[in-house]
Amino acid sequence: MSEQNQSRNSDGRDFPWQHVIGFILSIVLTLLSLWIAFKTSLSTGMIMAIIIGFAFLQAAVQLFMFMHVTESEDGRFQMWNMVHAFIAFVIIIVGSIWVMSFGMSYMNHM
């Protein structure tokens, strides 16, 4: 850390409410997904759709509560973060599904 970069408040009195709320929200979303998968009798496709929806909510919680997406001095870094996240998504998720498509015959009933 250099002299001009002391981001920490020196009074240390501000409680990190954002982080606590984010933490609780993350856990609640996770437990809800579990509950929907285990305890409801919706169709598989429906469960998938709901869980994917929750996943996006979870990502939003992470971005706003923990990663201070609204607080950077300019949008350039955030744009590159989003680009990186998108590339990672395409490579890992889309790539894996494409590569593994030959081995997933039992998922045809979806």
Binding site: M1, A88, I91, I92, V99, M104, Y106
Partner: protein, 652 residues
């Protein structure tokens, strides 16, 4: 659940008992020496609690050299078993454990810390920074890596080693086919060290983007720092995948989940997919910094600017990107369709293009240069032809159709040892020799260093060249013995080469011990007549690195300042400009927290969940304490700077 923990301590093998004895003796010796010389307090204050990137780098490298010894002993045991047909020196189970630990240790606990150690030593100095962006996190990275390495090594005498290969393929690594605790050791120690590497990646990414000296634009960044930036980006992409894959398999093994099992709709092939989604970027994480080291070394000892700097940077960025989209070439034979295999075949071959650009740029750098044959330069010169052989055989393996023939043969083993040893290991050794005077303040003996080189490099060629032909002749990897007498000659030759490499390594270590006492002391801080900023610091390097941060006007700033005799704070310090320097405080918490991590891992390996939970609460308490800690660091006074820099001060 029946956990099959037959016995806590591994029994029944004389070699293991010898290892037990050695571990106990070494531990006692270390404790005795520290107590006798009253060094405990010094150790704690100067090393265990340090957040200084240079010391952390040195500790990383010491750990890496230790692990290189352990992985090398594994390798020699394997070669001993495979020298002649039908040996029974090692039983199959023992052989499986040895090739598993050899692979895992050499990649994750030798290559990674060696690379990370070099980046810790060099990068902040090269970019004109006083430390990394997050010094405390850096200490935590090192200690959690170290405890993870200890946890993994413990498996060998307590509980039994992992035995499913370093790739730990499902379903082989699943509890049905691999009971016992060995695989748990693998999963948990990799999880902890993976966390450490991810933290390092983030740390250095931020450091290079945010902490460069004023005027140092991205295209004036030293090439080694560029290689670390690309490497960090790959780490940030790849290591979360490893964390998730390991977590899923840990759930399978500890809690009976079915992610990768054969039963319960598990998908064993998904493990291979996730593993290599991390694993392929990983092998580029260990090669790119080596490329950076070679660029620095070749440029320094050819007395020339790096030829095609821009092309070097862009080729690294391109290799970095391509490394993310080639992972399927590790399992062409798994049964994916022609569309998938073709795509990954082409993307793999495409990596040869930027790599070829780099090879010719190194040659171009040497062209008409005044080459000095120092030891780091020798390792770099040996790298170019050896790595080219490894790269070309890699292109052969990249052909999906041909890979059905090469797959899992010794041809592949020879290929990846050629690229990993002549790339990563030569690079690490070259970097160590190159920055050694910066790290320890004395030179290594060049003569002994050349002995090490001339033992190790021919040994390496003698060991691995025959393996190409063994592979083409049909010898498969991961067999504990063979009965085909046609393969005897080549295997004997390979074993001789392995022995030479072992001797070469011992000479290298002997060189460090010898030079610590008799090596030429470096007073100038610039023994190689270097080009980049790290050579502008005095030796020993003050803990704040630079009393005054220079303003950078061009690439290889320090070189041109020296050439043109320009006035610069790199050469003398005007007293009027000195100001107090802000530095981070040391902290013992990373050390404590990492040993708590160790306890979490060790308890979870043996399914003792309540201990693991307690230790995990301890880890969380450490994190909480850090969150609420007000740590503004401290200031180094101008008087202290004057005392430290008395040779360079200019009374203006």
């Amino acid at each position: 659940m029946n956990h099959h923990v037959d016995h806590f301590f591994v029994k029944g093998d004389p070699m293991i008992y010898a290892a037990d004895l050695m571990i106990i003796m070494t531990t006692l010796a270390v404790i005795f020496v520290l107590t006798y010389y009253k060094k405990w307090k010094w150790l704690w204050n100067e090393w265990l609690t340090t957040v200084d990137h240079k010391k952390i780098g040195i500790m990383y490298i010491i750990a890496a050299v230790l692990m290189m010894f352990r992985g090398g002993v594994d390798a020699l045991l394997m070669r001993a078993q495979l020298t002649v047909p039908n040996e029974d020196f090692l039983d199959p189970q023992h052989y499986n454990e040895i090739f598993t630990t050899h692979g895992t240790i050499m990649i994750l606990f030798m290559a990674m810390p060696f690379i990370i150690g070099l980046m810790n030593v060099a990068v902040p100095l090269q970019i004109g920074a006083r430390d990394v962006a997050f010094p405390y996190l850096n200490a935590l990275s090192f200690w959690s890596f170290f405890t993870a390495a200890m946890l993994f090594n413990l498996s060998f005498v307590i509980g039994g080693s992992p035995d499913a290969g370093w790739t730990a393929y499902a379903p082989l690594a699943e509890p049905e086919l691999d009971p016992g605790v060995g695989q748990n050791f693998y999963l948990l120690s990799l999880q902890i060290s993976g966390f450490s590497t991810l933290a390092t990646g983030i740390n250095f990414f931020v450091t290079i983007l945010k902490m460069r000296a004023p005027g140092m634009s991205m295209m004036k960044l030293p090439i080694f720092s560029w290689s670390i930036l690309v490497t960090s980006a790959i780490i940030i992409f790849a290591f979360p995948i490893l964390a998730i894959a390991l977590a899923l398999m840990t759930f399978d093994r500890l809690f009976g989940a079915h992610f990768f099992t054969l039963t319960g709709e598990g998908l064993p092939m998904m493990w291979a997919n996730l593993f290599w989604l991390w694993g392929h970027p990983e092998v580029y994480i260990v090669i790119l910094p080596a490329f950076g080291v070679f660029s620095e070394v070749i440029s320094t000892f050819s007395k020339k600017r790096l030829f095609g700097y821009k092309a070097m940077v862009w080729s690294m960025v391109l290799i970095g990107f391509l490394s993310l989209i080639v992972w399927v070439h590790h399992f062409f034979t798994m049964g994916a369709g022609p569309d998938v295999n073709s795509f990954f075949s082409i993307s793999t071959m495409a990596i040869a293009i930027p790599t070829g650009v780099k090879i010719f740029n190194w040659l171009g750098t040497m062209f008409r240069g005044r080459i000095q044959f120092t030891t780091p330069m020798l390792w770099s010169l040996a790298f170019i032809p050896c790595f080219t052989i490894g790269g070309i055989t890699g292109v052969m393996l990249a052909m999906a159709a041909a890979d059905y023939q090469y797959h899992n043969s010794y041809f592949l083993v020879a290929h990846f040892h050629f690229v990993l040893i002549s790339g990563t290991v030569f690079g690490c050794i070259a970097g160590l020799l190159y920055w050694y005077p910066k790290m320890f303040g004395h030179m290594l003996n060049e003569k002994i260093g050349k002995w090490a080189f001339w033992l190790f490099v021919p040994g390496f060629l003698i060991c691995f060249l025959p393996m190409f032909f063994l592979g083409l002749d049909g010898m498969t990897r991961r067999v504990y013995t063979f009965s085909n007498s046609h393969w005897t000659d080549l295997n004997v030759i390979a074993s001789i080469g392995a022995a030479l490499m072992g001797i070469g390594f011992m000479v290298l270590v002997y060189n460090m011990i010898w030079s610590a006492r008799y090596g030429k002391r470096d007073k100038t801080g610039d023994p190689w007549d270097g080009r980049t900023l790290e050579w502008a610091t005095p030796t020993p390097i003050p803990h704040y690195n630079f009393a005054l941060i220079p303003r950078i006007k061009r690439l290889d700033e320090f070189w041109y300042v020296k050439q043109n005799n320009e006035p610069s704070v790199l050469r003398s310090l005007p007293v009027s400009k000195l100001k107090p320097i802000h530095m981070p405080n040391s902290s013992g918490r990373p050390f404590v927290m990492s040993w708590l991590f160790f306890i979490v891992g060790f308890a979870a390996v043996f399914y003792v969940y309540w201990v693991a939970a307690l230790a995990l609460i301890g880890v969380l308490v450490c994190m909480g304490l850090r969150s609420f800690e007000i740590d503004d660091g401290h200031y180094v006074s101008v008087e202290e700077i004057k005392r430290t820099e008395k040779n360079r001060i200019k009374e203006a």
